[in-house]
Symmetry: C2
Amino acid sequence: MSDDPTDRLDAVDRRAEEGFEDALADLERLLAQPSISATGEGVRECTALAASLCEAYGFDRTSTVETPGQPAVVAHADAPAPDAPTVLLYGHYDVQPADPEEWTTPPFEPTRRPGPDGRERIYARGAGDNKGQWFAHLCAVRAWREAGELPTNVTLLLEGEEESGSPNLDALVERHTDTLAADLAFVADGPIDQSGRPHVLMGARGLLYVQIDARGPNRDLHSGNYGGPVPNPAWELVRLLASMRDGDGRVTIDGFYDDVRPVGERDREALAAMPFDPEATREDLDVEAFAAGPGESYLETLLYYPTLNVAGFTAGYGGEGAKTVLPSQAQVKLDMRLVADQEPDAVFERFREHVHRHATGTVRLEVTRHARMHPQRTPLDHPVREPVTDAVTDAWGVEPVLKPTLGGSLPTAAFERELGAPCVVVPYANSDENNHSPDENLAVDCFRNGVATTARLLATLPGAGL
Amino acid sequence: MSDDPTDRLDAVDRRAEEGFEDALADLERLLAQPSISATGEGVRECTALAASLCEAYGFDRTSTVETPGQPAVVAHADAPAPDAPTVLLYGHYDVQPADPEEWTTPPFEPTRRPGPDGRERIYARGAGDNKGQWFAHLCAVRAWREAGELPTNVTLLLEGEEESGSPNLDALVERHTDTLAADLAFVADGPIDQSGRPHVLMGARGLLYVQIDARGPNRDLHSGNYGGPVPNPAWELVRLLASMRDGDGRVTIDGFYDDVRPVGERDREALAAMPFDPEATREDLDVEAFAAGPGESYLETLLYYPTLNVAGFTAGYGGEGAKTVLPSQAQVKLDMRLVADQEPDAVFERFREHVHRHATGTVRLEVTRHARMHPQRTPLDHPVREPVTDAVTDAWGVEPVLKPTLGGSLPTAAFERELGAPCVVVPYANSDENNHSPDENLAVDCFRNGVATTARLLATLPGAGL
């Protein structure tokens, strides 16, 4: 037997292929179990099922970790070699709600049938987001175990409330740093590129979601009898918002960009290498032009800079025609996508200070924080990049698209912050997985590539000098 | 018989009192007839009823004038004296919709019972707004006719779609300037002062109601995957609105104040004489402070300056908690109360130009005009002020509050513009008439004072040198 575990991949692949139909049947059993964290439906049953599947697929120790919300499953599969590296595989077993009326086949009755392109898919809520993706890890671990020695220690962390914003994940990681310690945190989540190429994502933007409630008069007023001297809470919010952003789309909250990691040469190279057609995107979205922004290009603005997005503005009359009202209340919801090395708490404080400094004092203002996630970014020259890229390239037969970060947010920053582990995201689902939508599905060949990706990752990590 | 018609008022009052119970019965018959211009329910029946009541109460010529919408009733009662002045009395016979569920007694079953203060009221939709008020004119004309010669020519104009924004009134007045020609346009509408004192209102603010629709991407987007470079239509509206108003609450649309009639010494005197307690108003509305504005005082800002009021702002998510969305669309509704001598069309053009000049060009904008009413203001030193004030003072036994203008809007500017007639508004209804609300009502003693006011007005006008 060779010392290089990549030499044993043929045997691992054979084992995975032999067990593939059984694995699909187990995945369908997992998908048939509702686990809707928004309502709690079936979550506990799914915790038990996920844990039992870990046991069945060859993990050595599986435990259920309670949180103030839904429990997590933590499973370990140990590599015999004393110097074997450790990978933390993160996924979530909870799913979005699903309205059966909108589905072709019931969301919790997994159905295998061809998709629009003729490729076989499994249709079920959670197929792509995220059960099918982490289940590929189980298949890879079992195949390695059946083919011989596991080359990398595996810790699997399955969360039960990702679709509810992962409110307890940070604390869980903080409390279990020993159990979860790893050289790499690896997340299979999201869809691959529309071109069919996989992605390697070296980070995710963070999130700060805030709301400002403005209260003017204690009741809606006739705009003729009171309009002018009586303060209008919608005007107050318009003024406040306008004070937060200049004509070039830059946020003008004091210190907002202070902690933004500068964009370097290597970053710009990575952006230039990404397949992106601005004109096709503009046409797809049917916008007149893109907004001005702090970055030098569309992708730089999207991936390297924070945003201040008006997610909702609600005041007064929104129906047909005219109603002359001076509204009593107005509300704005804002989401800020944060980038390394911004701290959500610090940004929130700056935001709140800005609101108070620019308030007119005529209406009452209340600032609420709804959600926060830290940004996370693994440097592009980090040594994990190569073994991950190699594993993905070999499994998919094509070079992955390297993205410095996801535009969206993932609750993965705690792995870097608490465990000191770099974090990389590699999506396993097809680009039309319909996550969060009716007819969610996972292409069977993508699932197969996912199993192969995890199998290869466990082989490439030992040589990476982590 | 004296030459001074005021000497004949005792006889007129006696006649009015003798016929008072019959008049209330007729008013109840009028109130029992629904006439909802929003739905059309009962409007035509009410047109006929109103016309027949004019005939019955002694008008010489009554006609129904068709419009593209609901018809108006025009009735004339001629004074024999060749030099008798003419008053145009304007009212409307249509009413607001009414949900019987919310009423103590059915809205179209007029009920006489004591109000919260023990004074007898008639409860019915339209009691105060506006059937009960113009019906007082009929009673006054009949009493004069029964007591002797009518001293003033009376033209009564009853509109059938005031509650729908009077879309056809301007054109009707334009087409019938001969029939409607008058020395004074007089409107009994709205409630008296909370103190129990009546009002004499020398004008009304105008109205321009506009909407801006902003369209960004062709669908709601994930704020993480697109936020930053993709334009957000809510931000576009925030920017546009903020560009229209400075920190002192002054509208910064080019030329917005150009046609505003300057506030003179006499205006400030009238404002100073108005009973107004800013602190009580602030407490009643429970606002922290009043807004800065162009006027030197609350009342000056309210009555002598135009507004730019955000009546509605709707974009993105307005529900509970957080939803990270980059909205496809945003909408703002604005009402502008205009003052003499602003022209709604000219202001609209300035508004539209401002929007186009300040647009970023990244999102599509559409500007719609929903409604417009011209402002109207009769100078405080106009010769009609004295006979009106005398009539009101004598009828109510107390000096009226003189208001240079109503903060709200009335479709009365056409009388000044097309007929050259000054226009004065004197409310006859109690301050808690609940117009537009459930349990609308008219205090019987207010109605009696209304009859006396019209009766006196017909007597005071001939000596006013109009």
